[in-house]
Amino acid sequence: MFSCIYCPELSVAVSLADFGYSFSPLVEEATPECVVLDVAGCELRFGSAYKLANEISHYAMLPKAEGGLGQRINVSLAGNPDSAILAARFLKGITFIEPGEELTALGDLPIEKLLSPSPKSKVQSSRSGMTKSILKPPNSRLNRETLDLGPWTLDEKQALEILETLRLWGVRTFRDFVRLPTTGVAERLGQEGVKLQQLAAGKTERHLQLKQPAPIFDNQIELDYPLAELEPLSFIFARLLNQLCANLLAYALATNELRVRLKLEDGTTHERTLSLPAPLRDHKIFLKLLLLDTEAHPPPRAVVGVAIACEPVKPRVLQSGLFIPQAPEAAKLELTLARLVKLVGSKNVGSPAVVDTHRPDTFQLKRFVVSGDRKTRKRGRETRGRGDAGTRGYGEGETRGYGEAGTRGSGDAEILRQGDAASPPDRVSPSPHPPLSASPHLPLCASPYLRLGFRMFRPPLRAMVDASRGYPQQISAWGPNRSVYGKVVRLAGPWRKTGDWWRDDSWARDEWDIAIEQSGAAVSERVTVAQVLYRIYRELRSGAWFVEGSYD
């Protein structure tokens, strides 16, 4: 048996579904003003279904403070939900419809009531967030697209046609419609007509669409005494995360963001947010990440309350290819990254990215993320090498004169003019090599030769250079981890390089490639004497010499 409660003048602050839960755990919220209860088995508590209906009506009359609605309601009892809804909506008071007697109770209702939209069409789904259009009665010359009639949806235009046809046939009530032969209705009105006839006869069968309680993804706990150490706090974290992950699992969801609020002894709050690259719901991983983060960013005072909330999202679904190399698991990778951050610091772990500038040794570290769909990964990244400088140096004022590399003195001045921002772009000498990104026919990494590797010294080594003849002859540079010293046996340069002239931190320098003959421990055990190739430069402003790095 199904019971429908209809309260057309329900105030916004009252939930009819909550009222319905007082009588049955199985509640369908057709609309905020209309709920359907499955009352099968409730006789054990209320005596009989009829007594239950009386109880519902009685409790509804009670004031709100006592758990009632403070209003009169329509209550119906029927063998199927749709008949119960029709009875509650259009028959006042309490209506009992025995199974098989639906037509007796509803037969005299005008046929327009059948095609009036079901209150279910107003339902706003709390889970999906989608709202169906609010429908007006059919008499208001339907300005809608569909009619939601119980278990099926009827096209608006089709509903109008059926209603008009029924009027032409002289059908005025439900009973008139039910009396028509089903075969004839099917031939003339189609399956929709047959279904409407079943609805009028009260012979539909469907399951209730039960209202689910809103999921809670915010767990908190107040502590009896303050906790100042991480170990006891980890048990609290574990308990809350277990609950959170159980909730996520129950709703087949995951999360990619954990928000932790620690209520401190002095009344302040310490908040941390853990952003995950992929949705997860493994409480062990969450706990380890949370402990690592709390260890790296400990709360300033003892903790008296813990709250953990998460942002529920759909779990990640991956279809890995047979020939795609394996990638680190998202959960393991996140844990590994957290441990690496703890070991070497957050500024030393990540994925390098080249910044759009010609300033030497400028880069940034991004968060390392393994993309699930590698096909969408951006390929052919913008390549910016030293060879691009000539083609794009106009805006940034960077200079690199390849043709004039061997000429010094007056040649340098000419090079500087070529890259000067005041010169028009068409006068900038083109690079002898086009940028790699501009050569689409070059297969990726299929080149038969290598590129010259460079090892950047960070920071550059301050050097003492003997350049009495106009070029470096002797160099001596000492740093905490490396040293460069010796006689320059081969060299080339200089190449003048400037940039950011419009800013306060502009830079300008002359670069040289030099070879130094080094021996002993500075080279290796196997090689006693070797020429090591370095790039050195002289800052034009200060005149200081530096070793930028070595070619390797």
């Binding site: 690496l340 990726l444 010259l452």
Partner: protein
Amino acid sequence: MRVALSKATFEAEITSRFGAPFNRQKAPAEIMATGIATVDSVIAGLPRGAITEIFGAPSSGRTSFMLSLLAHAAAHKEVCALIDTSDVFDPTSATELQLDLDQLLWVRCAANVEHAFKATDLLLQGGGFGLVLLDLGDVAGKDARRIISSWWYRFRRTVEKTPTVLVVIAADSCVRSCASLALELSRETDDWSSAAGMTLPPVAGLPTHANLLSAVKVQLHRHRPLHAGTRSAHFNAVSHA
């Protein structure tokens, strides 16, 4: 009088009767190509699930080799990790090889060798990386000699059942017997075009450093189980700068 059969004679007798039960060929090891055709033609590639050591003096082409390896692996969708002990990796020169930097995890250890080894251990234990590079190229000899062997045994044990290629780059051979493949790099010639004060033939349109590593010799020292003995290959490192 009993005739004592040697093991070889016994095996030959068994083989002649029942086939070749003692000549079971081991399954070929999985390899990862280096991206350098001349080197791949000699060593076929770097073995997966094993340690490869690449060593040589400074300016011997180790970094060029490493960048080529990274670019080739990233182009084949391998997730790569670089443990940069001395913080010397230059992303700008890496982009010249069209290295997909999104595929690369860069761990900078600020010259702390212990951190570098712990970071390597964490990455190997985490799993899933196709190529893990440990760059000890600028570690001083006295520090390299202090590296205890148990680290290498631990790494070898960790990677042996995985498809990960662990490459160690150093100035001297330090992995020793734990390395399945050891390559020694040395620079044979360099080409100083248009060098100031030098009498070298200029290369048209190229700066001097374009051909600084014009011939790098790769010498194979240890390679098991595929090959044995010493072989060598050559490659050129050219800059587009």
